[in-house]
Symmetry: C2
Subunit: 233 residues, 2 copies
């Protein structure tokens, strides 16, 4: 676990320093800032689509500006480097994913078991819509960049820990409800399931079909249904 | 499963056409061929080390020839393109991995349960030796290239199927011995475990530590120890 994480705060505020105007701004400055933010947002949005499809090293700064329809010089007004673009892209995707994960797993209407199943089913549906391409942008970046950018690796480490925490909370509640074998440690199981899900998405891309995701779901249910008679060592 | 796979034959013979001299060769030709093979082997070996570390798109043909200490022109005497180099690299790594996997899982001396555990423990040891970098070259290529090269995706699909078959055989034997809950379909479980292992190696890279691999091993044992009282749907 990452120390210093403050639950309930904005996603990266407790880990990455956010800079911004901290003095009284005029309407004019605010207007310029808003235009500037919109342009940065456009580059990030379009560039992200390219990087999702081709990976970090398969995407050049030229590919990003071409996709956004802006001159190459613009890129460097907003991003120091391709690495800093990737960090912003990871932060954006992680924030959206974690928000959605929290929304689905935190609901108090359904049982935690059902919430977890529905969370993964929603992800399977999304993978089918994308015709089994891309998979998880965060997983792709982990695989491609962990050995090659310490900044990217560290950010992804935080994201994966946060993902694990959200699933751990649901599994802990499930165990309290008597719906999960006491042999499991909820945090360990959450980490195992997230790894298995990431691996299933990888296999989905290799096989270009839904089956690996269905296999994951079937085994999620088998794990939930398991009883452990023997003592787990 | 891939149809047309012939167990026990050379790894890719039944899927990829192997070309070679099919006429009577003289000693001179054989000698030239051997030199040529040795040079191709050198480029493949050194280039593979670079591609393992930096990925497909992070590795240029120049990086490969520089690592092998040969002029750039040499590369194209042996490989049509970087993609064809990658296919040869994948074939080499897959052949070695599958041979080792078969050796460890096919042994009749130990129980299949022990063989499977020892197989993954040996892989954890190997990951520790590499200081949690690289992970699985085949997994890395799957993640990075499945959407971008149909030839690479198809080859990896065959490799993953073959990997699944080897683990399926051991799990089937384990079930026959009464050491695995009847609720599991051995082929499905093999696919699930291989995905989980690939995901654990990805997380190992992101976290830069052994823990995700230990979490995998703990859950492998929990799955092996599980009883299913309720009927699995």
């Amino acid at each position: 676990m990452v120390t210093g994480w403050v639950p309930g705060t904005g996603f990266f505020e407790s880990f990455f320093v956010c800079t911004g105007l901290n003095y009284k701004t005029t309407g004019h400055i605010l207007n310029d800032m808003s235009k500037s933010e919109a342009k940065k947002d456009l580059i990030l949005d379009r560039g992200l689509q390219v990087m999702m499809s081709r990976g970090y090293n398969g995407t050049s700064v030229k590919d990003i500006v071409d996709a956004a329809g802006v001159p190459k010089g613009s890129f460097y007004n907003y991003f120091e480097s391709k690495e800093s673009f990737a960090l912003d892209a990871i932060e954006r995707v992680a924030s959206e994913n974690l928000k959605e994960m929290q929304r689905m797993l935190d609901s108090r209407i359904k049982s935690p078991k059902l919430r977890i199943e529905e969370f993964f089913k929603a992800n399977i549906y999304s993978c089918c819509e994308k015709k089994f391409r891309i998979g998880c942008f965060l997983g792709n970046m982990s695989q491609e960049m962990s050995d090659n950018s310490e900044a990217i690796r560290r950010m992804l480490h935080v994201v994966m820990d946060r993902t694990t925490s959200l699933l751990t909370a649901a599994l802990t509640q499930m165990q309290s409800d008597g719906d999960l074998s006491e042999a499991y440690d909820p945090e360990g199981l959450a980490e195992f399931l997230i790894s298995a899900w990431q691996g299933a998405m990888m296999r989905m891309k290799t096989d270009s079909c839904q089956q690996p995701l269905d296999v994951f779901l079937a085994h999620l249910n088998l794990i939930f249904d398991a009883q452990h008679i023997r003592t787990a060592n």
